[in-house]
Structure formats: structure tokens, C-alpha cells
Amino acid sequence: MLTALIYISGGLLAIILMLLAAIIVRRVRYDRYRRRYQARTRIWEPLFFSYLEGEDTGGRIAATLRTEEDYLSFVKFITFYLKNLSGEEAQAIADLAFRTGVSRRLYADLKSRRSKRRAVAATTLGLLNDRNVLPYLKRMLEDRDPYLVYAGAYGIACLREYSLFMPVMRTLLSRTPITYEGASELLVRFGEGICPTLADILREALARYERVSEREGEILGRDSPAKENRLRESPGGEPGSGFQVDLGDFVEVSMLVDILGYFRYADAGELLLQVMEKSGDEEITIHVLKAVVRLRTPQAAHRIAPLLDHPNWVIRSQAIRALGVLGEKMYRPDIQARLQDRQWWVRHYAAQALEALA
């Protein structure tokens, strides 16, 4: 027993010393890497800006990329600009990545066994607008790891590949636990070209609702069987195939409403108001009101006004905010009455709306 304890102690001491050595080595390497990265960015920045100005072909930057670390650092460097630049400048960065061999390296990383490398390569190539990468990204959508699915979806969204919009949306909602806020955040990267598709999905939902209610007089709400979440349960389907939501699927409907509002898709104004009125769902109503503020749908004011007396204060406050933004002066007395509302936010938005209407 004593001997065993001595061996255990010796082993533990060895592990502790190894950990201490690892801490020191990692720290020294990290500090060196940081210093080298700073030094590299000091060199790259002027070269990069002169390249963007058209004064350089990018050859001088390519000459600085010699080691694996140079490439990884350069990917990090350009990713910052890719996220913040668009149009010709983003295209110029993509060309630079191609000329400097960064794209080639990223392709190799897509086949790497390391998930992190694959994910970074997928998102960066998406940002670089490199369409050759699409087959890999499509395959990533089928991966078992939800983060790789997300990375693939992100890359496809950055490429604005509309043909894959539906599969991406369905995959995100059915095979990852992502919330609709997270999905919206990613889906808007497809650009406003997705709006007609989203509007069609809502139109179909509305038409289906009308057919059902005509037939059965059914009211679709949160407690209705139609609330059952079809998207999360749908088994996959062929790329490009559609899917349906019902007005009772308040989460998905809210997501579609948010995205349409985000892009200020004016053609959807009347549709959103109908969705709000037909669904009767408070969550959807709040999302539609927020969207209407962005869309500034002219006919909305008269449809929103009855909500000033809604028992839910969030709806009251959003309705007032919307009326203030829409600038419909005939509702000033009603808004003025809301200055006495028991909820501070309602009074706050009423005061703001009155100021806007003054």
C-alpha cells in the first residue's frame, strides 16, 4: 500500500510538473503568436488598403504568406473586413484570397478531419462568395454535428444561393435546436431575394386557414391542433421542396414576419395585417406591429387602432408606437388617452408618438 502511494505521488507530481511546463510553453507561444500577429497586421494593413485602392495587385501580400501560421492569421485578418465590407470591396478581397492561395488552403480545410477547421473554412468561403464550395456546404447540412450544420447553412446564406434557401431553413428548424431569432439572424444573410418566397409561405398559410375555417369554423390559435410544429417534425425532404406553416405555428410565423419586416418588404404589408387579424395570436401580433413600423404600410393605421385597448400592454405599447411612426393624426386623442395607462412603457410610447404627431 505504501509503495503504491509513493508511486501515485510520483505520478501526480510528474503530471503537475508537465502541466506547469505546458502552461509556461503555451503562454510563451501565445504571447509570441500575438506579437507576431500584431506585426503581420502592421505590414498587411497598408498593403491591403493600397490593394483595395487598386494601387497594388496583391502580389506583395502574397509574398508575406509563407507559413501555415501566416495563412491562418491572414484568414483572421480578412474575415474582419469581409464581415464589414460589401459589393466591389468584398469581391476584391475574394479575388485577393484566390490570388494569395488562401482559398486553396480553405478548400483543403473543408476536407479536414477537424470540425473547427471545416467550420471556419465553410463560413469564410461563404463570406468570400466562392460558389465552388456549394457541394461541400450542402453536404455539411447533413452532418450530425449541429454546429457544422450551422456553419454550412451560414456559408450557403452568405453565397445567397436561393435554390437552397428552403432546405437551409427546414434543416435549421428541424435538425438543430436553434431558436427562430437565431435562424432569422442567419437567414437574412440570403438577402431580400427570399422575401417573395416567405410571403408565399404566409399566403399559403392564410389560404389554408380560410379553407379550414370555412369548412369547420375552426379557430386556429395556440391551443389548436394545427399548432403542432410541422417544420421541426418534417423528416428532411428533397432540396428545393417546399414546406408549410399554419397560422397556429406562432414561432415560425413570427420568424417569417420578422424577416419580412427586416427587409422592409413593402408588398407584404397587407398580408402581414391579415396574418395578424386571422391568427389572433398575441405573439404574432407583436411581431407584425414591429414589422409594420419598418414597412410603414399606409393602410395599417386603421387596422392597428383597435389594438390601443388591447389587454396585453406590450401590444398596446407597440400599437401606439406604430401609430406614431405611421403619422396618422386622427388617432391623437386615443393616443393622448393612453398617457394615463397603468403601464409605464405604454405611457412612454404614447408621449413619443404624440411628439412625432405634433
Binding site: L2, L5, L12, L20, R27, T179, D258, Q343
Partner: protein, 475 residues
């Protein structure tokens, strides 16, 4: 062999088995945490934390700051919270009947005025005397209420809050500017997440300016350094490990975020315990499991809340006794979860672990020291064996602490100076000679106080944050 000697030998054997089990579990936790950190580094590589700042899709958050006699730190804390980077949030400061100038200092600093704002008492709490607002900061609300304890103050904050998520932070804490975006991320990535906790780190001696930690330094005080190592150990491998096993049983009262609806559903924080943070999480587990809900409580190692830790033995002793009482009360209030398969891993693994290895550990640890001494005197154990056992126990303790510092080094690099990191390693060694035994003694006293039903938080000494102290010195 006499009966007494036989009993002593049996106790010795039990203590050794206990020791092996505790440390074996901790080592396993370390490995799990290592995997979790690697995974976390992977997700960080594809997460864009800046974009959500400009996003319109994120859920708005209410930040609740309960304050009781915090006049020295409250203004700095509120400034820190107001400077957070997040698209839409409100700050709800709850003055829990402070007897010092807490309310006056925030009233003056933020030019507050009393509103006639009304709200629903979704959760019972002591009477709210007034709600104040600020013209300079429309997203700041200050609630003045009768004293009812931290849990009650948080309940009042939940009642007054308007948004679907609420984040509670301590009034003596400062959170990193990007921390709120980071801690909300799980609520965007996973619809099952009901609550999330962030890391609490030691802020004593750190430079805080404009509500942000500018320079992270290791305190020169030994007591603070010991606690720095403890916090790293508790958060970086303790909570991360539990979270990976879906068995997170505590989200720190100093920095956590919850779905408001879920907290209201379980009736909010209990006011009859000093461990209200752990008790709430346990009760939420119970509710979610009994309703068969697919849910997640998650811990993130990146969002950081900087807090002041006690700098004197008396305050530290009070804090540790209180924590031990809180742990005992939380477990007692939810004892039905113990080894109950209905509560899955929490009932079968987490709860028994906390009971055996956290609640009872000071009893066993101190009994162990005592029995070893008695055994030596009676000749039941030989000296070389005892020395070899103590050496391996100490080395195991050092290994656990050093591996937490290693986890810190492979992930966050919060301490910019290598000297500070090595000093922490030194204190990981030193803590085994006196500090660890002292904390075990305080925890044992906490346990005794629990048995004798002692209540209350005790008084903690507060200091200004370093920036405020320097500003005052200049004045």
C-alpha cells in the same frame, strides 16, 4: 485488537474510499471540462459576437441588480451595466431597504425621479415603496422596497422587469462589455435553454474605468489570491463539467440569466434561504422534469462577471458559512430529488454528489485529519503511510487547481502577465497548507449553523473599486 482500534481502522478505510471517490470524480470532471473547453473554442471560431449587437432579432433583456448597503460600489456597478453592448436592455436596480446611502448615491449619480409606474406582482415580494427613473438613462429603473433579503429583492426585480429574459448580477460586480451578448447566445442557439450562467472572477486590484475592467491584475493580498485559484477551479472545471453532463445545479447569483416566464412559473426565488440561487435552479429542474419538458441549463466559460471577494478572514468566514448553509438549505428543500430517477442525471448523479462531496465534505475532511492523528497516537497506522497518503492527497489537490489554471491558459488568457499565472500556480500549492483546512472549518461551522437554524447573510466589508479609490485620492 481492541474494538476502538477496529472502529478507527474502519473509519480510516472509509475516509480513504471517500477521498478516492471525491478526487476521482473531480479528475473526471476535469477531463469533461477539457472536452467542453475544446468544443467551446470551436463554437467561438464560427460565432460572430459583434453582429448581434446590430441585430433586431435578439430578445431584449432586463438586468436586475439587487443592492443592500452597497453605497460604495453601486454607482460603478450601474455604470458598468449601462455601458454593456446589447441591442435592447433595461437595468432594474433593487434597493432592498438599505440602511446606508445606497439609494441616495444612485439617485444623485443618475438624476432619478419618482414615477407612478405600476406593475403586476407576478411573484410575491415585500412592498415596493417607489420606482425611480432617469432622464439621462431611459433604460434605468430603480426600485426602492422594504428589506426582504436577496431572493425577495430579485423577485421584486422580476416583477418590475419588462423583458422575456432577465439577468441577475450582484451590486459589487462588474460585467465585461460583451458578456451580455455572450450569455444570451445560448437562448438564440437552442430553444430548450431556460437558464445560463457565466463565470465569476476576482476583481480586487483590477483597474476599472467607466464601468469596464481595463487592466486585469492579480491582487497582492494572499487571501484574495487563494480565492482566485478557488474561483478558477469552481467555475472552469466544476460548472463547465456539470453543464456538459446536463447536470448543472447552480447558476451563480452573481451572474446568471433566466427565462422570466420559467422563473415566474416556479414562483420565483425563495426568501427563506441564503442559497436562493441554487434552490431556484433545483426547483426549476424539478418543475421541468415533472412536466416532461426537454430543457437545458447551460454554463458558459466566456462571459465574465468580475466581483470583489472578501479581503479579511472574518468576512470570508461569514461568506463561506453562508454558502454552506445555502447549499444545505437548497438540498434539504429539494430532498425529493435525491437518487430519484425521475430527475434524470440531476437526481441520480448531481444531487448525491453535492450532498456527499460538497455538503458533508468538511465533516469528513476534518474527521479525517483528527482520525489520522488519533490513529498515529494509538499506533493503528504507521507514520510513513500517513505521510505518503497526505502527500498524495496534497498533490491531488494541487493537480486539480493547476489543471484549472491550464484550462484558463488554453482558452481565455484573462491574466495578461505570465508572472500572475505562475503566482496563481504557486498559490495552488500553498492553499493546501492551512487555507484549505481553514475553509473546511468555516464550512463545518456553516453546517452546524444550518442544524441550529441560524439565518441571515452577515455583514460583508465593501471597498470602492480601484478606479473610484484613485479618483477620490486625486480629489
Amino acid at each position: 485488537m481492541s474494538l476502538a482500534l477496529k472502529i478507527i481502522l474502519v473509519i480510516n478505510a472509509l475516509i480513504i474510499v471517500y477521498f478516492l471517490l471525491v478526487n476521482g470524480t473531480y479528475l473526471l470532471h476535469n477531463l469533461i471540462a477539457l472536452g467542453a473547453i475544446r468544443r467551446y473554442n470551436f463554437t467561438r471560431a464560427i460565432t460572430d459576437y459583434e453582429r448581434p449587437f446590430y441585430s433586431t432579432f435578439y430578445k431584449p433583456v432586463s438586468i436586475i441588480v439587487p443592492a443592500f448597503n452597497e453605497e460604495k460600489t453601486i454607482v460603478e456597478t450601474v455604470r458598468s451595466v449601462l455601458s454593456l453592448r446589447y441591442p435592447e436592455f433595461e437595468v432594474v436596480v433593487v434597493n432592498d431597504g438599505s440602511s446606508d446611502g445606497t439609494l441616495e448615491s444612485i439617485k444623485m449619480a443618475f438624476a432619478l425621479w419618482e414615477t407612478d409606474e405600476t406593475f403586476d406582482y407576478d411573484i410575491p415580494c415585500e412592498e415596493i415603496r417607489a420606482v425611480y427613473r432617469s432622464d439621462e438613462h431611459p433604460n434605468l429603473k430603480v426600485v426602492d422596497k422594504e428589506n426582504g433579503g436577496k431572493g425577495d429583492a430579485l423577485n421584486a426585480g422580476v416583477n418590475v422587469s419588462s423583458f422575456p429574459l432577465f439577468c441577475n448580477i450582484d451590486a459589487d460586480s462588474v460585467i465585461d462589455a460583451w458578456s451580455l451578448l455572450q450569455i444570451v447566445k445560448p437562448f438564440v442557439e437552442d430553444h430548450r435553454v431556460q437558464a445560463a450562467g457565466g463565470v465569476v472572477r476576482v476583481a480586487n486590484e483590477c483597474d476599472i474605468e467607466g464601468g469596464e475592467v481595463r487592466d486585469i491584475r492579480l491582487s497582492r493580498k494572499w487571501l484574495v489570491r487563494f480565492q482566485t485559484v478557488e474561483y478558477l477551479r469552481a467555475f472552469l472545471f466544476g460548472r463547465l463539467g456539470w453543464s456538459s453532463l446536463q447536470t448543472l445545479m447552480i447558476i451563480s447569483g452573481a451572474f446568471g440569466i433566466f427565462r422570466r416566464s420559467a422563473v415566474v412559473e416556479v414562483g420565483g426565488y425563495r426568501t427563506d434561504t441564503v442559497g436562493e440561487d441554487m434552490e431556484l435552479v433545483l426547483r426549476m429542474h424539478r418543475m421541468m422534469c415533472s412536466r416532461g419538458k426537454d430543457y437545458r441549463f447551460t454554463f458558459l466559460a466566456d462571459p465574465v462577471c468580475w466581483t470583489q471577494v472578501p479581503e479579511d478572514l472574518a468576512s470570508l468566514s461569514r461568506q463561506r458559512r453562508r454558502w454552506q448553509r445555502g447549499l444545505g438549505e437548497s438540498l434539504a428543500m429539494n430532498r425529493g430529488m435525491m437518487l430519484n430517477p425521475r430527475y434524470k442525471w440531476v437526481g441520480m448523479l448531481g444531487f448525491p454528489f453535492f450532498f456527499l462531496f460538497e455538503l458533508l465534505s468538511p465533516v469528513i475532511e476534518l474527521t479525517g485529519y483528527l482520525i489520522f492523528v488519533v490513529s498515529l497516537i494509538l499506533g493503528a497506522l504507521n507514520l510513513p503511510f500517513v505521510i505518503a497518503f497526505l502527500v498524495s492527497a496534497i498533490l491531488l489537490g494541487i493537480l486539480l487547481s493547476v489543471s484549472s489554471i491550464f484550462l484558463e491558459e488554453i482558452s481565455f488568457h484573462k491574466y495578461p502577465r505570465l508572472r500572475d499565472v505562475l503566482t496563481l500556480c504557486g498559490f495552488a500549492v500553498l492553499e493546501n497548507f492551512g487555507y484549505r483546512q481553514l475553509t473546511a472549518w468555516w464550512r463545518l461551522r456553516g453546517l452546524i449553523e444550518l442544524l441550529f437554524r441560524r439565518r441571515g447573510w452577515g455583514k460583508a466589508k465593501r471597498r470602492h473599486f480601484k478606479s473610484v479609490r484613485e479618483a477620490e485620492a486625486v480629489r
